[in-house]
């Protein structure tokens, strides 16, 4: 009897349990449905690539040269608007974004899922729009019916200077030329990711979903170039180009003690904000850094190099003289001084002062091809300097084992003809003479700053080209030559060692007599040079001598540098004891 009662109770409990179990199972199935079936049905995730901030570029004093700003592509989904909202949004579009009223109405009446309103909407306009929408917070996707797609664009403090050194970033984010190209791996950074739930219209739903990987912003690049020096160099160069109707020109300033480039002016240049104006192939030489990518015949500025090579190889002594008869035959070809002048017995200072081709050829002939070309190689001709800029040219130098080399090249190369170099190669070679014979690797980036790390670049000595006493002797001879015959380059209170050059312009296997490439290169103030300055004007019409055309620019640049860096004059140093 008792057992029958218990069995009845168990049956009832089992029924209730079954009912509860069924209800639970139903709930589990429904939850599972929404968890899996529902999610796949709306394909609800969207991965956003968070763009890293491209690193900025600053000058030696920390002034911004290149920075960024955020602009937006602004779109709208009119189909999400409620009936009667149209008028309010017309006001919003016209007042906050400056859209014409008719266009605003057209957008709102379209009832489309997405209409692009603007491609380059500034942050200020977006802020105003969101303020009017009463949205105090927003992300890159959601702002009511608006859709905001951010992107960054480069901002240039002075877009019309040093464009060929800085380079630029194309619309697809790829860098072109200059620092932007060379240091892209530093500047670019690494992208992050942010996954979101999105609704049917593609807008992010404010909910936790997926993972978040923050972007790593690019490093800040600090240049050795000072923007004030750069600006002055470009100003002087622009004046000279206009005055002498030159095709192109360069002014290079570097510190011979470290190899740091203080200014690199290449004109005509580009305005980084109006790149779309570049169309023709000729514009390549406005975009490219001609100081490192373009080659030219240096002319007589090679003579101090030849002299240093002869002294280093002990082919001649500093006190030697030679008999300048105005001409000389080397390899069956005649070498003559400019203007067919003959100077008689001359020492090396006079040879530099007169810029005697015969004297330079005499030095090269005394050295012989093997030692002469070995020394030119040591000075870095025919090879890249290793500067941290892209597209560096090696220059052209024929050497004895080549079929194209002729014995007469020994003579012509000694005074800078039949050999092509970049302006930077010449400046670096002069830098070795200024730095006790030690050649430093040139560089334009001194530091890279990351949020948690600063990388500094230490100056790199490439090699000792000549002995210190040879470098000093050549520097003194050059400075004396300036005092003797280059009055346009004389700077009161300071001694600069310098040399002019006037090269022909090669055209179709011969020289175009109507054009010349004058240049002036030097370093100072002696006895401890702080600056190497190169001034070069290309394809100047008429009798354009480096001494007359480029020397005054050199002098102006040197005076500016002395004043800017506060270098005391010899008189002040003497008074200070």
């Amino acid at each position: 009897m008792r057992g029958q009662r218990t069995q009845g109770i168990d049956t009832r409990i089992a029924r209730i349990g079954l009912l509860l179990g069924l209800a639970g199972a139903f709930l589990v199935v429904r939850v599972g449905y929404w968890q899996f079936r529902g999610a796949t049905a709306i394909d609800a995730t969207q991965s956003l690539v968070l763009q890293p901030l491209r690193g900025s570029i600053v000058d030696a004093s920390g002034h911004y040269l290149v920075a960024n700003s955020v602009i937006y592509t602004l779109g709208m989904s009119p189909n999400l608007l409620h009936e009667g909202d149209g008028e309010a949004y017309v006001g919003l579009l016209t007042e906050a974004l400056g859209l014409p009223e008719a266009e605003a109405k057209l957008v709102l009446q379209s009832r489309q899922a997405y209409v692009q309103i603007g491609a380059d909407v500034s942050s200020a306009m977006v802020d105003e729009l969101l303020r009017r929408c009463d949205a105090d917070d927003y992300d890159n996707l959601t702002a009511g019916v608006f859709r905001l797609d951010p992107r960054q664009e480069r901002v240039y403090a002075d877009p019309d200077i040093m464009g060929s050194v800085l380079g630029f970033v194309l619309q697809d984010g790829e860098p072109a030329y200059g620092i932007e190209q060379q240091y892209d791996d530093v500047l670019r950074g690494a992208g992050g990711q942010w996954s979101s739930l999105i609704d049917e219209t593609g807008q992010a739903v404010w909910a936790e979903w997926g993972d978040y990987r923050p972007p790593r912003d690019g490093g800040q690049v600090v240049l050795t170039i000072d923007r004030n020096v750069q600006h002055e160099a470009e100003r002087l160069l622009a004046q000279a180009l206009e005055e002498h109707k030159a095709l192109r020109g360069n002014i290079l300033v570097l510190d011979p003690r470290t190899g740091a480039i203080l200014a690199m002016a290449n004109l005509p240049g580009i305005n980084l904000e109006t790149l779309e104006e570049l169309r023709s192939e000729d514009d390549f030489w406005r975009v490219a850094n001609t100081a490192v990518s373009a080659i030219y015949e240096p002319g007589s500025v090679m003579k101090p190099i030849t002299l240093a090579a002869a002294l280093e190889t002990r082919s001649v002594l500093p006190t030697d003289t030679y008999d300048d008869r105005g001409e000389m035959w080397v390899g069956g070809r005649r070498v003559a001084n400019m203007g067919e002048m003959a100077y008689g017995e001359m020492n090396w200072t006079q040879m530099l002062a007169r810029s005697a081709n015969v004297g330079a050829a005499h030095l090269a002939a005394t050295m012989g091809p093997a030692r002469f070309y070995e020394m030119l190689r040591r000075f870095g001709f025919g090879d890249v300097t290793g500067v941290d800029l892209p597209l560096e040219a090696r220059g052209l130098m024929r050497v004895p084992h080549m079929d194209t080399w002729h014995m007469s090249d020994l003579a012509t190369n000694s005074y800078g003809q039949g050999i092509s170099t970049t302006p930077l190669q010449i400046a670096v070679a002069y830098g070795a003479l200024a730095n006790d014979g030690v050649m430093m690797r040139p560089f334009v980036v001194s530091e890279v700053h990351w949020p948690d790390e600063v990388r500094r670049r230490e100056p790199t000595a490439l090699r000792e080209i000549v002995r210190p006493e040879v470098a000093d002797a050549v520097a003194e001879m050059m400075a004396d030559a300036v005092d003797l015959a280059m009055e346009d380059a004389v700077i009161a209170g300071h001694r600069f060692a310098a040399k002019s050059g006037t090269a022909g312009v090669p055209r179709d296997g011969t020289y175009d007599n109507r054009l010349a490439t004058p240049s002036f290169v030097g370093f100072g103030p002696l006895p401890e040079p702080r600056f190497v300055i190169l001034v070069k004007l290309e394809e100047v019409e008429g009798e354009a001598l480096g001494m007359e055309v480029a020397a005054p620019v050199f002098r102006e640049m040197a005076m500016y540098l002395l004043r800017y860096y506060g270098v005391p004059s010899e008189r002040l140093l003497a008074e200070a004891g």
């Binding site: 290149v66 700003s69 936790e208 102006e556």
Partner: protein, 119 residues
């Protein structure tokens, strides 16, 4: 004939004599109660934790969002600084305020001649 009362079928009672009541095992009730209580407690704890995690994730999300907004603000400020400290702009301002370039200024050498002592 007299019928024995005990032989008549009756509705089962739980002893208190209340009709319809069943006699339950107290131990079983306690057991089921404990099971239900444990499940409820575990469920409540689980929900509480899920709630806390969801709230924290939301806060993280807000912070990430704010961080992204601040990055954009910083980017724009850097751009504005670059534009404001433009060399050309500074030179133009300097010229407007009457400053001249150093090379255009007259360099005057001042010689100190001493001061006559007062008599």
């Amino acid at each position: 004939m007299q019928i024995d009362r005990s032989s008549i079928p009756t509705i089962p009672t739980n002893g208190s004599g209340r009709p319809g009541a069943t006699a339950l095992n107290v131990g079983r009730i306690v057991y089921i109660g404990l099971i239900l209580g444990a499940i409820g407690l575990a469920g409540a704890l689980l929900l509480r934790q899920a709630d806390d995690i969801a709230a924290l994730k939301y806060d993280i999300r807000v912070l990430i969002h704010r961080q992204e907004t601040l990055r954009r603000t910083r980017t724009n400020l850097e751009g504005q600084i670059a534009a404001q400290e433009s060399l050309q702009r500074i030179q133009d301002l300097g010229a407007a305020w009457g400053f001249v370039r150093p090379e255009a200024a007259r360099e005057i050498e001042l010689v100190y001649t001493g001061v006559e002592p007062e008599r």
